[in-house]
């Protein structure tokens, strides 16, 4: 039986035929508030698993993906970790794709669509959240993948209650500093410790024994707390 992570990965891999020009890194402009670069679902999955086990994040509290792209991370949080999730995406076309992804994956991964809500809007503005009847202050965990990170960090520092967690997936091995937020953990160097075949390795989600090794690499998850 295929794992949910594998099903999720296969779903998004099967979408390669979608016009991908919109998914490439785009210049930040007034019209486009950022760029959509898909997050590594495997890395985020491993990080969430560790952070929940170690009590760093509240898996019952509302999770926000600020700049949710095609919805893969909220599909992961809602569909695999059963965390009530919210994704905000500025780009109309991409947010439409996210809605469709959640629609499809709620059946594939067997979760309630209400547990993964997509909103089209600007994640720095309160009225974006009000559209879904949510107050930004009620969000327990905010995730961002180097997409206007300073703006969302500033919003957390100014508005969120003490204890709110900011998870930043970042390609740089030196973490950023955000006023009002404290860096609590750095998850670096997701390594495969299992003895897998080459096929298993490239397959990406075989029987791998993945662990963060505290070694700087191209993908890192930084955990900040207000």
């Amino acid at each position: 039986m295929k794992s949910k992570l594998r099903l999720l990965k296969e779903y998004f891999n099967s979408k390669k035929e979608v016009k991908t020009d919109n998914f490439k890194i785009t210049e930040i402009s007034a019209e486009r508030k950022g760029s959509f670069v898909p997050s590594s679902a495997i890395c985020v999955n491993s990080a969430l698993k560790q952070l929940i086990e170690e009590g760093d994040i509240d898996d019952k509290g509302l999770f926000l993906d600020a700049g949710c792209g095609d919805g893969r991370i909220i599909a992961l949080t809602a569909g695999i970790f059963n965390i009530p999730s919210l994704g905000v995406e500025f780009d109309a076309e991409v947010s439409g794709i996210a809605e469709k992804s959640i629609d499809d994956l709620s059946t594939i991964l067997d979760f309630k669509k209400e547990n993964a809500v997509v909103i089209k809007g600007d994640f720095t503005e309160d009225n974006t959240y009000e559209k879904a009847g949510i107050r930004f202050e009620n969000i327990k965990t905010v995730f961002n993948y180097i997409n206007n990170s300073k703006d969302i960090a500033k919003k957390i520092a100014e508005q969120s209650p003490e204890g709110t967690v900011f998870l930043l997936l970042d390609t740089c091995f030196i973490p950023m500093e955000f006023p009002g937020l404290k860096l609590e953990k750095s998850l670096k160097g997701l390594a495969d410790l299992s003895k897998t075949t080459k096929k298993g390795y490239y397959d990406g989600i075989g029987n791998l024994n993945l662990k963060f090794m505290d070694v700087p690499y191209s993908i890192n998850m930084y955990v900040y707390r207000k």
């Binding site: 495969d192 390795y201 993908i219």
Partner: protein, 114 residues
């Protein structure tokens, strides 16, 4: 992470070449001190290091403290594009020489000794 003294802002002001040197030198120190004798296979996060597109990086430090690096991107080239190997191999040698970190590196199936 004591090996990395620069702040993010200071690091981002460096040239790409200096950034790569800084990264590799710090990484080497960490691997030599923390993971001597272990083998770590890194996930297939596509990245660019010193101008070479990598699909994965394997690190291993043997009992003599020797660090070996294998780029699976180059290994793929070896297997699927024999004709493209020599230029890729030459590029790898240039990178290793350019960054001269004082260790032995394995690129693909060939060993480049520094």
């Amino acid at each position: 992470m004591e090996q990395f003294k620069l702040s993010r802002e200071e690091f981002e002001k460096l040239s790409k070449k200096k950034q790569t040197e800084y990264y590799l030198e710090g990484l080497l120190k960490i691997l030599q001190t923390k993971y001597k004798g272990s083998t770590i296979k890194y996930r297939n996060e596509t990245t660019k290091m010193a101008g070479i597109k990598l699909e994965a990086v394997y690190f291993r430090i043997d009992e003599q403290g020797l660090l070996m690096i294998k780029h699976s991107g180059l290994e793929n080239m070896l297997e699927s594009r024999e004709s493209g190997f020599s230029s890729a191999h030459e590029s790898a040698k240039e990178v290793v020489k350019e960054y001269n970190l004082g260790f032995k590196a394995v690129y693909g199936k060939s060993i480049v000794t520094i």
